[in-house]
């Protein structure tokens, strides 16, 4: 038995500090992304979430240039971009993706410029790669409390607005009739998404940020038509994929090519995708069991 355990978990896994920090930070971010992401998927704002993750990279690259903590750059620019998106009309379905794309294009143009200045004026050539792809094993433990605070902010927005947000996501007209300020609720939801994705973009990279926001949430919504349960599934799946990914990445140091770890993001993304694919037959079976006439959520 110890041998088997040793085969799965390489010795020293739980005692290495980078791994511990990666497990904690990645875990928090996965849970927050799963819950906030359920609303993003439900509202059809996957693209906005992806764009915000990339745009927060602009903030990251700017903060390297100015010399402030990357955290403020990531979150500040992410929330700012969410505001701009809401202002120029992402709340309207028609032309929404277009507006999102324009904001993203401008943001990335600026990112190109900032990274260019970063790499020419200071000699941080690796900055591009680190910012875009992130590395879970290089998170410093001092950042953990701040991650916690911003996670509480994102979850707090969603918790306070839970019912009006859910109703305006599923049936906007009905919500408006009931006196819910759909526009305001939508803007707040976008801010929560911005905080969640900029947080994850900073800690685990822009790729994983989108993957964790959309993948587990879509899987959760496929598994069940009850929103609360779907969110729980999303958080659990995100957490499982992240922790398994970290474990596999740690183990992969001993895989070919020798003494060269495989990237965490590859494992996490692959796991999330597998979960999504596996969930489709299960989801169809449970969907049939839902009695007709009961309002359910459209599956992911």
């Amino acid at each position: 038995m110890p041998d088997l355990l040793r085969l799965i978990v390489e010795p020293g896994f739980f005692f290495s500090e980078p791994v511990q920090v990666a497990l904690i930070a990645g875990g928090i971010v996965a849970v927050v992304s799963g819950i906030v992401g359920s609303f993003a998927v439900l509202r059809g704002q996957s693209y906005a979430g992806h764009a915000l993750a990339d745009i927060s990279v602009t903030g990251g690259s700017a903060s390297y240039l100015v010399g402030i903590s990357p955290l403020w750059g990531f979150v500040g620019v992410g929330v700012l971009a969410a505001g701009v998106m809401d202002m120029i009309g992402v709340q309207r379905p028609r032309g929404r993706d277009l507006a999102t794309g324009i904001v993203r294009g401008t943001g990335l143009g600026l990112a190109a410029l900032f990274l260019y200045w970063d790499t020419t004026h200071t000699s941080t050539t690796g900055a591009t790669i680190t910012i875009l792809f992130g590395s879970m094993f290089t998170i410093s433990s001092s950042i953990l409390p701040v991650i916690g605070v911003f996670s509480v902010v994102a979850l707090g927005i969603v918790a306070v607005l839970y019912r009006p947000l859910l109703l305006s996501s599923v049936a906007a007209d009905l919500a408006a009739v009931r006196g819910i300020r759909v526009r305001l609720v939508g803007a707040m939801c976008l801010v929560a998404i911005a905080v969640a994705v900029s947080l994850s973009a900073m800690t685990i990279g822009a790729i994983l940020s989108t993957a964790l926001l959309v993948g587990p949430a879509a899987t959760g919504l496929r598994l069940t038509s009850r929103p609360g349960l779907a969110m729980t599934w999303a958080a659990v799946i995100g957490l499982a994929a992240t922790w398994l990914g970290v474990l596999l990445a740690y183990d992969s140091f001993y895989w070919p090519p020798e003494q060269h770890g495989w990237p965490v993001s590859f494992f996490v993304v692959t796991l999330i995708f597998l979960f999504y694919l596996l969930a489709s037959p299960v989801g169809r079976r449970t969907a049939r069991r839902v009695p007709a006439g009961r309002p359910g959520l459209a599956g992911g």
């Binding site: 990339d54 990335l108 990112a111 993001s265 459209a298």
Partner: protein
């Protein structure tokens, strides 16, 4: 700026602008901004894979773009389109990260693939880019009418026997082709700025499809030329200028449309008595872009 080594840059960039203008017109019509964004970004994985295997970057990008586009098509048949696009994108990027970690590529080269390296275009690249561009525009012109009808009025297209799914697939493949030829020039992250900004501006100038497409090509050409000249003068990344000018185009288009709507609305109010409801109907039809 127009010396020997820059000639191929100008040629390739102009071809890219024409294709982005034509393909982008349909991207905007179909509201497929996310797809136009995800395919190039995902195709970046192909470039990383090609450098790992030591094959031509253009081939790697082309294969990855096609696989990504087909993957999006396959996944969106069984779920939401935006979720399918996001998942296909992250899987491709995950693979890209894996390839990158295995290859010994220098960071500046990756940077240039992502954000574009306008001075890095060599004369040997003109021929493949021209062929791909011809394929792309050829496919669009060949299927112009069914593609247009299925983009604007899916129900009418179905009634006329145009298969929506087939048109979607065709559209995805064209986007993939356009991607693989624009990637080395303007960079993966900003191709779609070129595919969105100019067509969006063109669409608010005119409602008629062919003039709008032409305007979109002209605006795209202007954006690319100005961007290259500015990048050459300042030595800043060309991607920055393309992104910023794309946003300027979009803002100008929105402003122009607002002014037109304001004037049109006023004219409609003044002419209400004379034109009656039929006038209003006509106005509404124009606004809905139905004049195919």
């Amino acid at each position: 700026m127009f010396s020997g080594f820059m000639v191929s840059t100008w040629t390739v960039a102009s071809i890219v602008a024409v294709v982005a203008g034509v393909v982008g017109f349909f991207v905007v019509l179909r509201g497929a901004a996310f797809v136009a964004d995800a395919v190039p970004q995902g195709a970046f994985a192909g470039a990383a894979g090609a450098s790992l295997l030591g094959i031509n970057t253009l081939i790697g990008v082309g294969v990855a773009a096609l696989l990504g586009a087909l993957g999006i098509g396959w996944l969106s048949r069984r779920g939401r389109r935006d979720v399918a696009t996001a998942l296909a994108l992250v899987v491709m990027l995950g693979l890209g990260a894996l390839f990158l970690s295995f290859s010994v590529q220098y960071a500046p080269e990756i940077y240039s693939l992502l954000f574009g390296e306008v001075l890095g275009v060599s004369a040997t690249e003109i021929a493949p880019v021209a062929i791909l561009a011809a394929l792309c525009t050829g496919a669009i012109l060949l299927f112009y009418r069914p593609l247009l009808i299925s983009s604007l009025m899916p129900e009418l297209a179905e009634a006329r026997g145009v298969r929506a799914q087939r048109m979607e697939l065709l559209f995805l493949i064209v986007v993939a082709l356009a991607t693989s030829l624009t990637l080395p020039v303007v960079g993966a992250l900003l191709i779609f700025s070129l595919m969105i900004g100019p067509p969006a501006a063109a669409r608010s100038v005119t409602d008629r499809p062919l003039p709008a497409m032409l305007a979109s090509v002209l605006i795209a050409l202007a954006v690319v030329w100005v961007s290259i000249a500015a990048a050459y003068e300042t030595n800043w990344p060309v991607g920055f200028f393309v992104g910023a000018l794309g946003a300027v185009c979009y803002a100008a288009g929105r402003g122009w449309a607002a002014i037109r709507r304001h004037r049109g609305g006023a004219a409609w109010r003044h002419g209400r008595g004379a034109r009656g409801p039929s006038g209003a109907q006509e106005h509404g039809l124009q606004a809905a872009n139905v004049r195919v």
